[in-house]
Symmetry: C2
Subunit: 625 residues, 2 copies
């Protein structure tokens, strides 16, 4: 019943239509020789609403990262190591897969220069390309005699007959109990930062920043509790651009004090979502000569270019992005609670799987559904935080695999099972990966798992000075794999939001160094090394960890040190570990971790009366001797 | 006799004169409100000739890195952690030390913006500021309403009465025995790279690149066997700009085939050094519309701006820089031989010190002199590769300390001794640091030394995939220190030239990630973690290591793996090690290393009949049990 291949999307006709639109048509002033279809929406979101899945529409590949480029003769898709296998399976042979991160792979710019005829025009929708990407691409193309042009009407939308409408879901107002700070407090703190830097306006375009700032959540984008909006914050005014129907809700009106603002400078002025372009234009027209306006250089090119250069202060990440990343005590407490509830559900799943798998009836999809069902029984559950990666054997090697009916494998006693899953609770967001075997793992599987575990521990137990950037920790996760000639082609960790996006900036742990802010106490990141053997199995071990101060024997130049505290408390399967490969320190770490799982999750299971899961937990947290 | 303080340079009068020159004078068209004095020369060299020591002249600080800025009211110097102590001792209180790398330290741009009156002009000599630095500085100043202006006549030169003349030393032509490739081979390979990228001209400004390309050496700059020159390489022409007196030498004429060129496109056309500006202008005037010219973005702003933007292809490092970094088999063999000879000399020094120190007559300076004397006895010795850092006790904490009569301490049985030294031999360049104690080190000194040793081994024994950048290895060197709350404020390693500069790009091992090219087999870098306790002692352990292929159990995606082979073969003092803190793997590494020292250096000592040194070596390479 299960097959190993996803079927590719047939794109011959779509490409014909797109190329026709590129040549003339009502859409563009003059023909373009190439059209770029980025992955994001007008907010440069990583996860996007169905109406914004233009890159998937044109090429079939539905991973979270990738850019398609179509020329008269070629069609190519760039994506990273997580998605090489998946992309090659989802695209037909009209498409060339460009594997990013490999030395021999041309960049988009170099590829365009190599295939385009002289003096070509390359088109892109300025709303869905970030300003910094526009700048780099435009510079590279110009230097080779081509030009990048903004195509106002999106050419994919023009050929996409049944394109869904933009969602406008109900907004949820979060109280102090969840947020720790009122939106008024956050606006005031933000204005303090603006004043420090002599900034008079700040254009907020990232959906999670707007949700965090206003203590509002939505469900416009699956898995991400955000809503389509823009905000323009001045020193004494607040402009929110959002579908006006959403503001009819009494709770939302009260939360934003729309009908009775307490202070003039904390009065929210609401405008329709679409009017951001014209309103920002109006604000810019009225700027004093010295006024400066912050906008993230990852904001859309379209909106960025509204701001005259003399007034534009482009920043690589915004003060909201940083403020949101450093969780306050209420948020930390909420994240801890969310992870405890989440661990109860996941332990229950594993206890259930152990019982059910021998019957041969559990599949990747049914296991994922069961995980969701168990999570949904927990308090304040809202939904999943990303599509569950539930993968057996070779499917585990597809790093961002999502089981589909045509790929669905049955869980068995013979293959490794990898489940990477998480949920949104009103008090926090979770993201956890465990790799387990329900029969007897091979020595090679255990060896690889143990290297991954050693890397996981090396990061989790690392002590490092205040001010250290996450990318300096990435190699700790790889050293044990590297020693044996192994590696994994993805970063080691990402920031995690608090009842917000499961991936957030500006910190992370990766060999890539872009937009990497120093780690600070209160930040929350994932620690998730892995190893993937194409066609055979995948291993990943992921905890969400909190950055905390570390006690050290000495304190060089009074800088202070940091380390990580795991928030995820789900046992690591001992059966998968070759304990001979662990040092005593690593064994102690595993035993300490399991003791903490048993104490904390065990207590919650007792409180919830989940006896079977507790029995399972007790067995799974036996110390290594 | 020894004192602990260097005396600061008195700068009141010089600053008065400089500020006068900034205000009006014959030097500039209109007054400037600030003047930037970078560290480098017109070739952006790290080590510079006396005539180019303008920054030292104005502020007194003579470290290898630092930028001075003088305004009407302020004078400030930016330097990095290696030099904080030294700079604070060498500058008088007219100067503010700006400690780079600390969070609270303003960048040069931000500082200028904070102190300058509105619409200020900031001047700089365009020949000694790199094009990329000019661009960044200019952009930052413009965004705050100021402007960066090129001041053609150097204002320091204008007030520097007894400024030395530019040196023009004898050139040495290196044969194939040392270089492995003729200069004609190197030009041909370079033109191949230019053709690949459709580049018709390449302006070479870095002195070590010119020396390497032409297989010539000079001694214009102390410690660096280079000579003042520029080169402009076309697809069929070679223009060398060098003081014409140097080309009267018959050996040089023959080497460059000046009188009987073998091929037209391998004919070297010689021009006076100073004519590079006008000749490059002439070349640029004759460019075809599609011609592109390579120039490094670290070349001087003055020369970069000669090339019209449409023809300019600025690159972060040049193909010569990369070709030079990957040593050929002849160069590797030469580097190995140089390190063997160097180790003989250094072992002799330590044997001598052990005997002499109890007499109380050996000082930092006399020890350094003895080291030079012993090195000079070795075959093909040319000179030192940098000023010897010979430092006792608290002087060891001054990271780039150089003993002066007024700071000179006596070596004793009570203090740690750190010696960082190296030499130029015709077959290679060395750079080695050992930290030793001739009495009984304290437990704390041993503990710190052992953490540094663990870091040194972690890098030296690291196995990592082909394509890994050096900065990904930096944290391995720090992990043991970090665990105890310690750290060091410098990078872990730098590229090392082959009878060339002891510091060279484009690879290295540092937490900083700029211009960091992937490590390749054949590259040579240093591995030199340290620990410094201000006012007390300094520890550093440095080997020069060669990047070599590593054999691994598996080979993920056929990428292949790399590791390091130490070229430096000088024992690590066992007395300084707390062996309880070492893992078994680390103990094995030390024993293997010492076995190799004994075999290789011992054999050479026997050949040279250096009996006392051999006896010392045998004792110092006893295995740890």
């Amino acid at each position: 019943m299960a097959t190993d291949a996803m079927s590719p999307k047939i794109t011959v006709e779509l490409l014909r239509q797109l190329r026709q639109a590129m040549r003339n048509g009502k859409c563009i002033a003059e023909p373009i020789q190439a059209y770029i279809i980025p992955s994001g929406d007008a907010h440069q979101s990583e996860y996007i609403a169905p109406c914004d899945c233009r890159r998937e529409f044109i090429c079939g590949f539905n991973g979270s990262a990738g850019t398609a480029i179509v020329t008269e003769q070629h069609a190519a898709l760039w994506t990273d190591g997580r998605y090489f296998l998946q992309a090659s399976q989802q695209m037909d042979n009209n498409w060339t897969l460009m594997k990013m991160g490999l030395k021999e792979t041309l960049s988009q710019e170099d590829w365009l220069i190599s295939v385009l005829p002289e003096n070509s025009k390359v088109g892109v929708d300025p709303w869905i390309i970030a300003a910094d990407q526009w700048k780099n691409m435009s510079k590279a193309l110009s230097s080779a005699g081509h030009s990048l042009v903004a195509v106002q009407a999106n050419l994919i939308d023009a050929i996409w007959e049944d394109r869904p409408a933009r969602p406008s879901t109900k907004l949820i107002a979060l109280g102090l109990k969840y947020t720790g700070l009122t939106w008024q407090d956050k606006i005031t703190a933000l204005r303090g930062k603006m004043a420090e830097r002599k900034i008079s306006w700040f254009v907020v375009t990232a959906l999670d920043e707007i949700a965090w700032l206003f203590n509002l959540r939505g469900s416009d984008i699956e898995y991400n509790p955000v809503f389509f909006a823009y905000a323009v914050i001045g020193i004494s005014s607040i402009k929110l651009f959002v579908d006006s129907k959403r503001l009819l809700d009494a709770a939302v009106r009260q939360h934003l004090e729309l009908d009775s603002p307490s202070k003039p400078d904390l009065t929210v002025q609401c405008f329709p979502y679409e009017s951001v372009f014209s309103e920002l234009n109006a604000v810019c027209a009225a700027l004093a000569p010295k006024d400066k306006m912050w906008i993230c250089d990852k904001a859309s090119c379209a909106l960025t270019q509204v701001i005259p250069k003399a007034h534009r202060a482009a920043i690589p990440y915004t003060p909201l992005c940083l403020a949101k990343a450093v969780k306050n005590p209420t948020e930390i407490q909420g994240m801890k609670m969310a992870h405890i509830k989440d661990a109860v559900a996941l332990c229950e799943l594993f206890a259930w799987l152990e019982k059910e798998i021998p019957k041969g009836t559990v599949t990747e999809i049914s296991a994922a559904d069961k995980a969701e069902e168990l999570r949904s029984q927990q308090k304040d559950f809202v939904g999943l935080s990303f599509p569950t990666i539930s993968s057996v054997g070779p499917n585990g090697a597809i790093i961002h695999y999502r089981p589909l009916p045509e790929t669905n494998r049955t869980l068995s006693l013979n293959e490794v099972y990898l489940i990477d899953s998480g949920a949104q609770y009103r008090d926090g967001t979770t993201d956890v990966t465990r790799t387990v075997h329900f029969g007897t793992p091979s020595d090679y599987e255990k060896e690889c798992f143990t290297y991954v575990l050693k890397g996981h521990i090396a990061v989790s137990a690392a002590v490092f000075p205040n001010g250290t950037k996450g990318h300096l920790l990435d190699s700790f996760a790889r050293a044990a794999l590297w020693d044996s000639g192994l590696d994994y082609l993805h970063g080691t960790g990402h920031g995690v939001g608090c009842f917000l996006n499961v991936h957030e900036g500006p910190c992370g742990i990766s060999y890539k160094t872009f937009a990497d802010e120093p780690l600070e106490a209160g930040m929350i990141v994932s620690d998730e090394p892995g190893y993937y053997e194409d066609g055979s199995f995948g291993i990943r071990l992921e905890n969400v960890v909190l950055v905390v101060p570390a006690k050290t024997k000495y304190n060089y130049r009074n800088r202070g040190s940091l380390t990580f505290e795991p928030l995820t408390l789900v046992p690591i399967q001992l059966k998968m570990i070759n304990t001979d490969l662990l040092t005593q320190k690593e064994r102690d770490w595993v035993n300490d971790y399991h003791r903490k799982c048993l104490e904390t999750i065990g207590a919650e299971m007792e409180r919830q009366g989940r006896k079977e899961a507790l029995d399972w937990l007790i067995l799974e947290t036996q110390p290594i001797v």
